[in-house]
Protein backbone atom coordinates (compact mmCIF):
# COMPACT_ATOMS: atom_id res chain seq x y z
CA UNK A 1 0.00 0.00 0.00
CA UNK A 2 2.66 2.46 -1.09
CA UNK A 3 0.05 4.98 -2.23
CA UNK A 4 -0.97 5.47 1.40
CA UNK A 5 2.47 6.96 2.06
CA UNK A 6 1.54 9.95 -0.10
CA UNK A 7 0.85 12.97 2.11
CA UNK A 8 -1.88 14.19 -0.24
CA UNK A 9 -3.64 10.81 -0.14
CA UNK A 10 -3.51 10.82 3.67
CA UNK A 11 -5.02 14.30 3.83
CA UNK A 12 -7.57 13.36 1.16
CA UNK A 13 -8.70 10.25 3.05
CA UNK A 14 -8.89 12.08 6.39
CA UNK A 15 -10.98 14.86 4.95
CA UNK A 16 -13.15 12.32 3.07
CA UNK A 17 -14.03 10.58 6.32
CA UNK A 18 -14.68 13.80 8.26
CA UNK A 19 -16.77 15.34 5.47
CA UNK A 20 -18.46 12.10 4.43
CA UNK A 21 -19.72 11.48 7.95
CA UNK A 22 -21.34 14.88 7.88
CA UNK A 23 -23.56 13.53 5.11
CA UNK A 24 -25.58 11.90 7.89
CA UNK A 25 -26.77 15.32 9.01
CA UNK A 26 -27.67 16.29 5.46
CA UNK A 27 -29.69 13.11 4.94
CA UNK A 28 -31.53 13.51 8.22
CA UNK A 29 -32.26 17.22 7.76
CA UNK A 30 -33.33 16.76 4.15
CA UNK A 31 -35.96 14.16 5.02
CA UNK A 32 -37.09 16.29 7.96
CA UNK A 33 -37.53 19.27 5.62
CA UNK A 34 -39.98 17.32 3.47
CA UNK A 35 -37.93 15.78 0.66
CA UNK A 36 -38.28 12.05 0.15
CA UNK A 37 -35.40 9.58 0.11
CA UNK A 38 -34.85 9.77 -3.66
CA UNK A 39 -35.02 13.55 -3.80
CA UNK A 40 -32.44 13.63 -1.01
CA UNK A 41 -30.21 11.17 -2.85
CA UNK A 42 -30.59 13.13 -6.10
CA UNK A 43 -29.13 16.20 -4.39
CA UNK A 44 -26.15 14.26 -2.99
CA UNK A 45 -25.50 12.28 -6.18
CA UNK A 46 -26.12 14.94 -8.81
CA UNK A 47 -25.79 18.36 -7.18
CA UNK A 48 -22.95 17.25 -4.87
CA UNK A 49 -21.88 20.43 -3.14
CA UNK A 50 -22.57 20.42 0.60
CA UNK A 51 -23.23 24.14 1.02
CA UNK A 52 -25.63 24.28 -1.94
CA UNK A 53 -27.44 21.17 -0.73
CA UNK A 54 -27.96 22.55 2.77
CA UNK A 55 -29.09 25.86 1.26
CA UNK A 56 -31.65 24.08 -0.93
CA UNK A 57 -33.27 22.11 1.89
CA UNK A 58 -32.98 25.11 4.22
CA UNK A 59 -35.16 27.20 1.90
CA UNK A 60 -37.63 24.34 1.41
CA UNK A 61 -37.97 23.69 5.14
CA UNK A 62 -38.47 27.42 5.73
CA UNK A 63 -41.47 27.28 3.40
CA UNK A 64 -39.70 28.87 0.42
CA UNK A 65 -40.50 28.09 -3.20
CA UNK A 66 -38.60 25.64 -5.38
CA UNK A 67 -37.33 28.60 -7.40
CA UNK A 68 -35.94 30.27 -4.27
CA UNK A 69 -34.32 27.01 -3.19
CA UNK A 70 -32.71 26.57 -6.59
CA UNK A 71 -31.48 30.19 -6.60
CA UNK A 72 -29.88 29.90 -3.15
CA UNK A 73 -28.20 26.69 -4.22
CA UNK A 74 -26.95 28.24 -7.48
CA UNK A 75 -25.55 31.31 -5.69
CA UNK A 76 -23.65 29.15 -3.24
CA UNK A 77 -22.27 27.07 -6.08
CA UNK A 78 -20.60 29.99 -7.89
CA UNK A 79 -17.38 29.42 -6.00
CA UNK A 80 -17.16 25.94 -7.54
CA UNK A 81 -16.72 27.67 -10.90
CA UNK A 82 -13.73 29.56 -9.49
CA UNK A 83 -12.37 26.29 -8.11
CA UNK A 84 -12.87 24.73 -11.55
CA UNK A 85 -10.65 27.37 -13.17
CA UNK A 86 -7.95 26.76 -10.56
CA UNK A 87 -8.17 22.97 -10.74
CA UNK A 88 -8.11 23.00 -14.53
CA UNK A 89 -4.72 24.72 -14.35
CA UNK A 90 -3.42 22.79 -11.31
CA UNK A 91 -4.73 19.25 -11.84
CA UNK A 92 -5.14 19.57 -15.61
CA UNK A 93 -7.51 16.66 -16.36
CA UNK A 94 -7.55 15.81 -20.08
CA UNK A 95 -10.36 14.78 -22.38
CA UNK A 96 -13.23 12.89 -20.76
CA UNK A 97 -11.59 13.19 -17.34
CA UNK A 98 -12.73 16.80 -17.22
CA UNK A 99 -16.31 15.52 -16.78
CA UNK A 100 -15.81 13.61 -13.50
CA UNK A 101 -13.25 16.21 -12.37
CA UNK A 102 -15.87 18.95 -12.66
CA UNK A 103 -18.35 16.89 -10.67
CA UNK A 104 -15.99 16.43 -7.71
CA UNK A 105 -14.79 20.04 -7.73
CA UNK A 106 -15.82 21.23 -4.26
CA UNK A 107 -14.30 23.08 -1.28
CA UNK A 108 -12.46 20.08 0.11
CA UNK A 109 -11.00 18.61 -3.09
CA UNK A 110 -9.79 22.07 -4.16
CA UNK A 111 -8.33 22.78 -0.74
CA UNK A 112 -6.57 19.40 -0.59
CA UNK A 113 -5.00 19.89 -4.03
CA UNK A 114 -3.99 23.52 -3.40
CA UNK A 115 -2.38 22.51 -0.12
CA UNK A 116 0.23 20.46 -1.97
CA UNK A 117 3.29 21.82 -3.77
CA UNK A 118 4.28 18.86 -5.95
CA UNK A 119 2.08 18.51 -9.10
CA UNK A 120 1.69 14.74 -8.66
CA UNK A 121 0.61 15.22 -5.05
CA UNK A 122 -1.81 17.95 -6.14
CA UNK A 123 -3.47 15.51 -8.54
CA UNK A 124 -3.56 12.71 -5.97
CA UNK A 125 -5.02 15.03 -3.35
CA UNK A 126 -7.72 16.31 -5.69
CA UNK A 127 -8.89 12.87 -6.81
CA UNK A 128 -8.59 11.21 -3.40
CA UNK A 129 -10.59 13.91 -1.65
CA UNK A 130 -13.05 14.37 -4.53
CA UNK A 131 -13.89 10.71 -5.16
CA UNK A 132 -13.56 9.74 -1.47
CA UNK A 133 -15.99 12.42 -0.36
CA UNK A 134 -18.38 11.63 -3.22
CA UNK A 135 -18.62 7.97 -2.17
CA UNK A 136 -18.81 8.53 1.58
CA UNK A 137 -21.05 11.59 1.34
CA UNK A 138 -23.61 9.56 -0.62
CA UNK A 139 -23.42 6.49 1.62
CA UNK A 140 -23.88 8.62 4.72
CA UNK A 141 -26.61 10.74 3.12
CA UNK A 142 -28.56 7.50 2.67
CA UNK A 143 -27.79 6.44 6.24
CA UNK A 144 -28.95 9.82 7.52
CA UNK A 145 -32.10 9.83 5.42
CA UNK A 146 -33.05 6.29 6.50
CA UNK A 147 -32.06 6.39 10.15
CA UNK A 148 -31.01 9.94 10.95
CA UNK A 149 -33.11 10.47 14.00
CA UNK A 150 -31.92 7.27 15.63
CA UNK A 151 -28.29 8.41 15.41
CA UNK A 152 -29.00 11.73 17.06
CA UNK A 153 -27.57 15.13 16.21
CA UNK A 154 -24.22 14.92 14.35
CA UNK A 155 -23.23 18.09 16.19
CA UNK A 156 -23.17 16.04 19.40
CA UNK A 157 -20.31 14.12 17.77
CA UNK A 158 -18.53 17.38 17.01
CA UNK A 159 -18.60 16.86 13.26
CA UNK A 160 -19.05 20.58 12.61
CA UNK A 161 -15.94 21.14 14.73
CA UNK A 162 -14.10 18.64 12.53
CA UNK A 163 -14.87 20.80 9.48
CA UNK A 164 -13.48 23.92 11.20
CA UNK A 165 -10.31 22.05 12.17
CA UNK A 166 -9.88 20.62 8.67
CA UNK A 167 -10.02 24.01 6.97
CA UNK A 168 -7.64 25.56 9.52
CA UNK A 169 -5.25 22.64 9.00
CA UNK A 170 -5.31 23.22 5.24
CA UNK A 171 -4.69 26.95 5.70
CA UNK A 172 -1.93 26.58 8.32
CA UNK A 173 1.05 25.52 6.14
CA UNK A 174 0.43 28.53 3.89
CA UNK A 175 0.85 31.06 6.70
CA UNK A 176 4.60 31.48 6.33
CA UNK A 177 5.69 35.10 6.56
CA UNK A 178 3.83 38.30 7.30
CA UNK A 179 2.07 38.73 3.98
CA UNK A 180 0.10 35.44 3.87
CA UNK A 181 -0.96 36.00 7.49
CA UNK A 182 -2.13 39.51 6.63
CA UNK A 183 -4.11 38.24 3.63
CA UNK A 184 -5.73 35.51 5.77
CA UNK A 185 -6.68 37.99 8.49
CA UNK A 186 -8.10 40.53 6.03
CA UNK A 187 -10.15 37.85 4.24
CA UNK A 188 -11.39 36.36 7.51
CA UNK A 189 -12.52 39.81 8.68
CA UNK A 190 -14.16 40.56 5.32
CA UNK A 191 -16.06 37.27 5.63
CA UNK A 192 -17.28 37.98 9.16
CA UNK A 193 -18.33 41.53 8.25
CA UNK A 194 -20.30 40.22 5.27
CA UNK A 195 -22.11 37.38 7.08
CA UNK A 196 -25.01 39.43 8.54
CA UNK A 197 -25.62 41.43 5.37
CA UNK A 198 -25.57 39.01 2.43
CA UNK A 199 -27.13 35.58 1.79
CA UNK A 200 -25.40 32.47 3.10
CA UNK A 201 -22.49 31.45 0.91
CA UNK A 202 -21.86 34.93 -0.48
CA UNK A 203 -19.38 35.92 2.29
CA UNK A 204 -16.97 33.36 0.83
CA UNK A 205 -17.28 35.09 -2.55
CA UNK A 206 -16.61 38.46 -0.87
CA UNK A 207 -13.42 37.03 0.63
CA UNK A 208 -12.47 35.56 -2.75
CA UNK A 209 -12.91 38.98 -4.38
CA UNK A 210 -10.78 40.66 -1.69
CA UNK A 211 -8.06 38.02 -2.04
CA UNK A 212 -8.04 38.26 -5.82
CA UNK A 213 -7.83 42.07 -5.63
CA UNK A 214 -4.86 41.83 -3.26
CA UNK A 215 -3.19 39.43 -5.68
CA UNK A 216 -3.92 41.66 -8.67
CA UNK A 217 -2.71 44.94 -7.17
CA UNK A 218 0.34 43.68 -5.29
CA UNK A 219 1.64 41.91 -8.37
CA UNK A 220 4.91 43.48 -9.49
CA UNK A 221 6.90 41.87 -12.28
CA UNK A 222 10.58 41.84 -11.41
CA UNK A 223 12.58 43.88 -13.95
CA UNK A 224 14.72 41.81 -16.25
CA UNK A 225 18.38 41.62 -15.39
CA UNK A 226 17.85 42.72 -11.80
CA UNK A 227 15.97 39.63 -10.83
CA UNK A 228 18.75 37.57 -9.22
CA UNK A 229 19.71 40.40 -6.87
CA UNK A 230 16.22 41.16 -5.72
CA UNK A 231 14.61 37.78 -5.75
CA UNK A 232 16.87 34.91 -4.79
CA UNK A 233 14.23 32.21 -5.24
CA UNK A 234 13.51 30.40 -8.51
CA UNK A 235 9.73 30.58 -7.99
CA UNK A 236 8.79 34.24 -7.60
CA UNK A 237 5.59 33.58 -5.70
CA UNK A 238 6.34 30.37 -3.90
CA UNK A 239 6.28 30.04 -0.15
CA UNK A 240 8.79 32.84 0.22
CA UNK A 241 6.70 35.53 -1.38
CA UNK A 242 6.52 37.35 1.94
CA UNK A 243 10.18 38.22 1.48
CA UNK A 244 9.56 39.27 -2.09
CA UNK A 245 7.07 41.89 -0.99
CA UNK A 246 9.30 43.35 1.71
CA UNK A 247 11.84 44.95 -0.57
CA UNK A 248 10.19 48.16 -1.77
CA UNK A 249 13.43 50.10 -1.16
CA UNK A 250 15.38 47.87 -3.47
CA UNK A 251 12.65 48.13 -6.09
CA UNK A 252 12.56 51.92 -6.20
CA UNK A 253 16.29 52.35 -5.87
CA UNK A 254 16.82 50.28 -8.95
CA UNK A 255 14.17 52.06 -10.95
CA UNK A 256 11.55 49.35 -10.80
CA UNK A 257 8.80 51.93 -11.26
CA UNK A 258 8.82 51.37 -14.97
CA UNK A 259 5.49 50.37 -16.48
CA UNK A 260 4.56 46.77 -15.80
CA UNK A 261 5.71 44.37 -18.45
CA UNK A 262 6.14 40.66 -18.61
CA UNK A 263 9.50 39.30 -17.60
CA UNK A 264 11.45 36.52 -19.22
CA UNK A 265 11.58 34.60 -15.97
CA UNK A 266 8.03 33.38 -15.66
CA UNK A 267 8.86 29.96 -16.93
CA UNK A 268 5.24 28.83 -16.60
Amino acid sequence: MKILQSPAVKVGLSISIATGLYGISFGALSVASGLDLWQTMALSLLLFSGGSQFAFIGVVSGGGTGLAAMSASALLGIRNGIYGMQMNALVGPRGWRKLPAAHVTIDESTATASGQVDPLEQRRGFWTAGVGIFLLWNVFTAVGALAGNALGDPKAWGLDGAAVAAFLALLWPRLKGKEPVAIAVVCALATLLAVPFVPTGVPILVAAAVAAAIGWFTHKPVPEGLAPDIEPYPEPYSEHDGAHMQLPDADTRRGADRPDRPTERGGA
Binding site: S14, G77, N88, A101, T105, W157, A207, A211, A268
Partner: protein, 103 residues
Amino acid sequence: MSLWFWILAACVISYATKFAGYLVPAKWMKNERMSRIAATLTIGLLASLTVVNAFSSGQQLTLDARVGALLAAAAALLLRAPFLVVVIAGAAAAALLRLAGWG
Protein backbone atom coordinates in the same frame (compact mmCIF):
# COMPACT_ATOMS: atom_id res chain seq x y z
CA MET B 1 -43.56 16.56 -8.97
CA SER B 2 -42.84 20.29 -9.11
CA LEU B 3 -40.19 19.97 -6.40
CA TRP B 4 -38.48 17.35 -8.53
CA PHE B 5 -38.21 19.91 -11.32
CA TRP B 6 -36.41 22.45 -9.11
CA ILE B 7 -34.16 19.76 -7.63
CA LEU B 8 -33.04 18.61 -11.08
CA ALA B 9 -32.67 22.22 -12.27
CA ALA B 10 -30.43 22.95 -9.26
CA CYS B 11 -28.36 19.85 -10.09
CA VAL B 12 -27.92 20.96 -13.71
CA ILE B 13 -26.89 24.49 -12.65
CA SER B 14 -24.44 23.11 -10.12
CA TYR B 15 -22.71 20.90 -12.67
CA ALA B 16 -22.73 23.59 -15.35
CA THR B 17 -21.07 26.05 -12.93
CA LYS B 18 -18.34 23.57 -12.03
CA PHE B 19 -17.74 22.56 -15.63
CA ALA B 20 -17.62 26.19 -16.84
CA GLY B 21 -14.47 26.63 -14.76
CA TYR B 22 -12.79 23.83 -16.72
CA LEU B 23 -13.54 25.57 -20.00
CA VAL B 24 -11.25 28.48 -19.04
CA PRO B 25 -7.98 27.67 -20.84
CA ALA B 26 -5.32 26.57 -18.34
CA LYS B 27 -2.73 28.81 -20.00
CA TRP B 28 -4.73 31.90 -19.03
CA MET B 29 -4.10 30.89 -15.44
CA LYS B 30 -0.41 30.23 -15.99
CA ASN B 31 1.29 33.60 -15.91
CA GLU B 32 2.89 35.40 -13.00
CA ARG B 33 -0.07 37.58 -12.19
CA MET B 34 -2.51 34.66 -12.25
CA SER B 35 -0.14 32.50 -10.17
CA ARG B 36 0.02 35.31 -7.68
CA ILE B 37 -3.79 35.61 -7.63
CA ALA B 38 -4.19 31.83 -7.32
CA ALA B 39 -1.94 31.95 -4.24
CA THR B 40 -3.77 34.85 -2.56
CA LEU B 41 -7.14 33.38 -3.56
CA THR B 42 -6.33 30.04 -1.95
CA ILE B 43 -5.31 31.70 1.32
CA GLY B 44 -8.38 33.95 1.23
CA LEU B 45 -10.81 31.11 0.52
CA LEU B 46 -9.36 28.83 3.19
CA ALA B 47 -9.40 31.64 5.78
CA SER B 48 -12.97 32.43 4.80
CA LEU B 49 -14.12 28.79 4.93
CA THR B 50 -12.49 28.44 8.37
CA VAL B 51 -14.27 31.42 9.94
CA VAL B 52 -17.58 30.75 8.18
CA ASN B 53 -17.61 27.23 9.60
CA ALA B 54 -16.45 28.44 13.03
CA PHE B 55 -18.51 31.57 13.63
CA SER B 56 -21.62 31.64 11.45
CA SER B 57 -25.03 30.02 11.57
CA GLY B 58 -26.87 31.09 8.47
CA GLN B 59 -26.70 34.89 8.47
CA GLN B 60 -25.91 35.12 12.19
CA LEU B 61 -22.52 35.36 13.85
CA THR B 62 -22.36 33.02 16.82
CA LEU B 63 -19.94 31.90 19.49
CA ASP B 64 -20.47 28.24 20.31
CA ALA B 65 -18.61 24.97 20.75
CA ARG B 66 -17.00 25.39 17.34
CA VAL B 67 -14.75 28.10 18.83
CA GLY B 68 -13.34 25.35 21.03
CA ALA B 69 -12.77 23.27 17.91
CA LEU B 70 -10.87 26.15 16.30
CA LEU B 71 -8.65 26.66 19.37
CA ALA B 72 -8.02 22.92 19.79
CA ALA B 73 -7.07 22.64 16.12
CA ALA B 74 -4.72 25.63 16.39
CA ALA B 75 -3.08 24.08 19.47
CA ALA B 76 -2.66 20.76 17.66
CA LEU B 77 -1.13 22.54 14.65
CA LEU B 78 1.31 24.45 16.89
CA LEU B 79 2.37 21.05 18.26
CA ARG B 80 2.91 19.90 14.64
CA ALA B 81 0.25 17.20 14.86
CA PRO B 82 -0.64 15.39 11.62
CA PHE B 83 -3.78 16.36 9.71
CA LEU B 84 -6.04 13.60 11.02
CA VAL B 85 -5.07 14.33 14.64
CA VAL B 86 -5.92 18.01 14.10
CA VAL B 87 -9.35 17.07 12.72
CA ILE B 88 -10.03 14.67 15.61
CA ALA B 89 -8.91 17.32 18.13
CA GLY B 90 -11.40 19.75 16.60
CA ALA B 91 -14.27 17.26 16.69
CA ALA B 92 -13.45 16.12 20.22
CA ALA B 93 -13.27 19.70 21.54
CA ALA B 94 -16.67 20.59 20.04
CA ALA B 95 -18.24 17.33 21.27
CA LEU B 96 -16.84 17.69 24.80
CA LEU B 97 -17.91 21.33 25.09
CA ARG B 98 -21.44 20.37 24.06
CA LEU B 99 -21.38 17.47 26.51
CA ALA B 100 -20.45 19.99 29.19
CA GLY B 101 -23.50 21.99 28.16
CA TRP B 102 -21.97 24.87 26.17
CA GLY B 103 -22.78 25.78 22.59
